[in-house]
Subunit: 429 residues, 2 copies
Amino acid sequence: MTTSDPGFGVSADVLARIAQDEKIDAATLSERIQQGTVVAMGGDGVLPMAIGAGMRTKVNANLGTSPDYPDLAGELDKLHAAVAAGADAVMDLSTGGDIDEIRRAVRAECPVLLGTVPVYQAFAEAEDRHGEMMRMTGDELLEVVARHCADNIDFATLHCGVTRATVAALKTQPRIGGIVSRGGSLLAAWMRHNNAENPLYERYDELLAILREYGVAISLGDGLRPGAVADATDAGQVAETRVLGELVLRARAAGVQAFVEGPGHVPLDQIEANVLLEKRLCHDAPFYVLGPLVTDVAPGYDHITGAIGGAICAAAGADFLCYVTPAEHLGLPTVADVIDGVMASRIAAHAADIVKGVPGAREWDDRMSRARHELDWRAMENLALDPGRVRLTRGDRPTADDAACSMCGKFCSVRASRFMEQDAEGSAR
Amino acid sequence: MTTSDPGFGVSADVLARIAQDEKIDAATLSERIQQGTVVAMGGDGVLPMAIGAGMRTKVNANLGTSPDYPDLAGELDKLHAAVAAGADAVMDLSTGGDIDEIRRAVRAECPVLLGTVPVYQAFAEAEDRHGEMMRMTGDELLEVVARHCADNIDFATLHCGVTRATVAALKTQPRIGGIVSRGGSLLAAWMRHNNAENPLYERYDELLAILREYGVAISLGDGLRPGAVADATDAGQVAETRVLGELVLRARAAGVQAFVEGPGHVPLDQIEANVLLEKRLCHDAPFYVLGPLVTDVAPGYDHITGAIGGAICAAAGADFLCYVTPAEHLGLPTVADVIDGVMASRIAAHAADIVKGVPGAREWDDRMSRARHELDWRAMENLALDPGRVRLTRGDRPTADDAACSMCGKFCSVRASRFMEQDAEGSAR
């Protein structure tokens, strides 16, 4: 099989490794990368990984310090926890402490894809430099983007679709939640304050040149994503998605791989339509969603709310799930929150992969179910999404009969079912 | 407005209370109860509650001792935790200790609907009496059903659809997981061992007479539900659903309210079809599902796996969700597991109610989102599904600025969004 160069600076090694992991032939993979329906990242010490059409649904964990909690060591603990829990990518969203130092430390210890959101740091530095975030200049913003890219990140979220026109579209359909994207709201406020267009849009060609130079993919941020189920799929969101679709084409033409971010808060019956809109309007660029959360009322449990939306969204075609932790809407996540968030998103991703027909997905379930029917607890533990959690739960609840569990004991349905099958077979076992 | 008697022994008080809670007029409700598309239970000290067409999606929590853990006090703790967490019903599935004593104690302390599965106790007593579970007699089984009904339970799960014909149907399509219902597997083993038909099917008229006498609803158990995604919607399951449909009509004709239990383990893309099959084959009887779990590989997190399936299933028309706890497939749940299970199912139920158009459902989300946009933390806490969890999480992560949270601090998107809105309004606030 001959494999043409996929372009975008994706190396033959990265292509081969992804093709092997995804059980897809390299020529097909290469073609999809060329077309932009798959984005391939990693290499040079970072685990190669692809998101997009036909790929396993991937999971991202957001990390990062805040002004109240600027502790680097704590974020590195979360990084290691996220990777151990199976995150395919992490994003460093730090806004507190020495942001450059934190990003470089995270990169040094991060074996998986790393993304960042440079706009936070640009605003933070503007406050330090000018005494006011809103005095940030476009040059300063682009310089921070370049600084992040030079630190060997794999992708950058840039809210290029928050424009005068899309912010105006918001006003045509009043929202309950306003703008809930941190980057999106800061940029919109900046635009209003300075009566100027978003530099990330106005100077998009310069931005692409920077990304191209460093081989960094663009994650087109959804700065106007809905933050309330009432606001889902509204004029502002759809206007932004249309702009992002144009920006996807310009990125591809400039040699920059692009994917598109999506909501947010979406009621169950609008999720499929959101995927369709992104795929149609953004030329089948991979879709990266945050949740989506199917209700607003469950702070403390938004990893579950997000897993419901994420599973439906990924089954409908979303490619990359950003986790939501139990701390969402309440505060900075702890290490335990990070683990719960990754696990919940992995469940959503895998449940979708079963029905997407991702090679090997259903086989995992079948192996687990066979182990269950054999009461093979060792195999069940090893096959579990989180073997440690299985071990802990079983260990907490010892049973008189090690082969059964503390739920059923002698009323074990597996035993009764096997007894019946054996009896039916006339076996004396 | 005149309200005809709904029949089935449903009192005018119960009807009025449910109509008020569900924001539906009593005449419409009465008609649905008569038709059997809604089942109304409770009264006489038990909170009246309805499941079925147009009603809020309800949540059940399974409790009960096991042979390894026969402790009554522990189960009462779980009962109180489940009710405090918002369970609409509980089932006592005890199989260990003095089962009569436990059931009566649970009933005495249970303010919400109570269901049981009498077959477990019948098998347990057969072992004590005859030295072998399989020597249970049909008379003994029916006597245990009557004993449960006399203890003022609201509904009983009875696996009447596990018949010679439906068990034979299982063999036409081999399964990975066999029979995973505890009652279903024990009955199938009993039928094979004794070469006899299931007494719950053969003596269904006698069973209905008992239920009718005590005004207890029948939850037609899905003894052949799939226990692996590979086994979903197979010949055995569908054969049983067809039988349950016939039994629904016989129950209604005999003056017994009936609803139907469903899976189990179902891949995402088969959930809607499962709801359609139940509604069509079972004459629109309310559908009570366990999960469904959308993957087999996540023991330790099956409350999340079940919430994904439950939300999709309820949005498609399921009426009553049996919770799944993080301990599913591993052991007897703890109090913490019970709380996590109820909360996960309540999220699924509410996410579905938003799109089902249940009166008041979306308004709850909108109130929360307004509170969020106002940074009104007191209101957010009070409106949360679990105010205590919100308080704990916030309390754990103090911030320099009480109005913000530890995630964003000065980068708060709500503030930036409000700043922009105020600026746009030309306000000096």
